[in-house]
Amino acid sequence: MSRTDELLNDPVFLRELVMDHYKYPHHHGLIDRKDLLSRHMASDSCIDDITVQADIKDGLIKDVRFDGVACTISTASTSMMSDLLIGKTLEEARDIISNYLEMIENREYDPDKLEEAVAFKNVYKQANRIKCATIGWKAMQEMIDESENRNG
């Protein structure tokens, strides 16, 4: 087991990671650009209310931004998602998202593709938090669909 693998299985490290992404989320704050795709996710659950933006051009995710009022799980998981998806092709992004969603549903997935996002591998034990863990990811999935439909 490599040092990274060890860390990603260490609950204390994972907790610190989630705390860090919650307190200091990456790619946080929306930008005012009309050419960005955007999703306001407020209807799925009563309480998290976030907006995710994506800059998708030539089949590449150039940027992801998000903001809103949200819990530790949705904030940190969306922050980690932004780190993972920026710079990826749509195909790579889809693969990462689908592995993540498999993990959240407690099915087989490739942890190497998810890097830090494996921090949420146990969320399935609390069914009511699955929505929190997927809200940002579903927004991204929808925007990838939209961009492909637009170009297809």
């Binding site: 949200a70 530790t72 938090r129």
Partner: protein
């Protein structure tokens, strides 16, 4: 005063989850054996549809269904013919809004609501105001969502025709001075509808003394079964009001030319086969509460709540939104920890509370937060449970909240 440890034995949910602390009574309450037994007896001994059955079990079902009107009338001091059974308090509030919008309200009229109302006392009015052209205004509330009758009086002009308010706010437990509001309203021929969802089963309700025109509540928030709501209305007003649903059981005659004659209230509001089982269970719930005594229940809950407030008011990390309200839920946040993370942490300690905006999505204007944690008590809760809750809360930090799902 009843013995809470004896009372707890009446509730199978408590006996089946002896270590769980259930502080989500604002959402729903547990059902005692007697309520479950009454429903089981209906299904096992006299399961039949009501009305016009010419056989013994049907007649027995008719009687049991009708008997609930008497139990409810006794519980809230109204006439039996003023008791309408619907699906829930939401259906009752929709019925009132629909009925008043149809024949009582016209363009330019005003309906007064408050920003502390539950969605079910706002959305029907929102929708109907668009169709009928009446306006909606909000009465002024203080920071703990209490309405002041004098401030209300200043809002009243000739356009105000209806006031619809929750007796007890589902978020803050604010108790509105309904009797005083009714007095002021009736001087000006304004009708008053009361959402009693969080009041029923927690305090003595005297419909005649309050002098409200309509009073709505749900059975499941007073130890009764789900799926039954009650609309109490002054009889002449019910007679004038059009039903929201039409169908079987509520018509007297109808003809091929499209004309029809409806039954009198309350039956004309109860189209279709009702929730017979639920209505029968509600009767048992009314009797159960009356056997404990509504005044005793209320006094015990106040005592519990004040113990709760005493225990948490000095905790540094707690922001309390309604310390001064004497009844209803205790609503709070923990500094720097999102409400749902608090609820998730408490759940891991076997404590059931609710986080969110509690279906009162415009209340944040008053209390300055979008979401909060609500701990709502009932007469089967204990001081020991509150002490355990407070101990659990003391162990809450961002770290421990995250550890729950790592």
């Amino acid at each position: 005063m009843f013995d809470v440890n004896e009372v707890r034995k009446d509730f199978p949910m408590i006996m089946n989850h002896p270590d769980m602390i259930y502080f989500d009574n604002g959402a729903t309450t547990y059902k005692p054996h007697c309520v479950l037994d009454a429903m089981m007896e209906y299904y096992t001994c006299y399961n039949s549809n009501i009305e016009r059955g010419d056989y013994d079990t049907a007649i027995r079902a008719d009687k049991a269904y009708a008997h609930t009107r008497e139990s409810v009338a006794k519980l809230v001091n109204c006439e039996t013919k003023e008791v309408v059974f619907l699906a829930n308090v939401t259906a009752a509030l929709n019925q009132v809004a629909y009925g008043l919008a149809k024949d009582h309200l016209k363009e330019g009229d005003t309906v007064l609501l408050s920003e502390a109302e539950h969605a079910s006392n706002l959305l029907p009015w929102f929708s109907l105001s668009k169709q009928k052209g009446f306006r909606i205004h909000y009465i002024p509330l203080d920071q703990q969502a209490n309405a002041d009758p004098e401030a209300l009086e200043r809002c009243l002009d000739d356009s105000v025709k209806v006031i619809s308010l929750a007796y007890v706010s589902n978020v803050l437990g604010s108790v509105q001075p309904i009797k005083e509001i009714c007095r002021i309203a009736h001087e000006r021929n304004i009708l008053v509808c009361v959402d009693g969802a969080q009041a029923i089963g927690h305090r003595k309700i005297d419909f005649k003394d309050l002098d409200a025109d309509f009073f709505c509540f749900s059975s499941h928030k007073m130890c009764g079964p789900d799926g039954v709501g009650v609309l109490i209305g002054k009889y002449p007003l019910l007679q004038e009001m059009d039903p929201l649903l039409l169908g079987g059981g509520m018509n007297a005659r109808f003809y091929a030319d499209g004309s029809y004659i409806l039954k009198d209230a309350p039956e004309k509001f109860e189209a279709g086969t009702p929730n017979i089982e639920g209505v029968i269970g509600l009767s048992a719930a009314c009797e159960y509460l009356m056997s404990l005594g509504m005044d005793q229940i209320h006094a015990y809950e106040k005592e519990l709540r004040s113990h709760f407030i005493d225990q948490i008011k000095d905790l540094d990390q707690i922001i309390l939104y309604n310390p001064d309200n004497l009844s209803g839920p205790v609503t709070f946040n923990v500094k720097d920890i999102f409400a749902q993370d608090v609820a998730g942490y408490l759940a891991s300690k076997g404590i059931a509370v609710r986080s969110g905006n509690h279906c009162a999505k415009i209340l944040h204007e008053i209390i300055g937060t979008d979401q909060s944690v609500r701990a709502s008590l009932y007469f089967y809760n204990t001081k020991e449970e509150i002490d355990r809750f407070v101990e659990a809360l003391k162990g809450l930090s961002l770290e421990s909240a995250i550890d729950v799902f790592i």
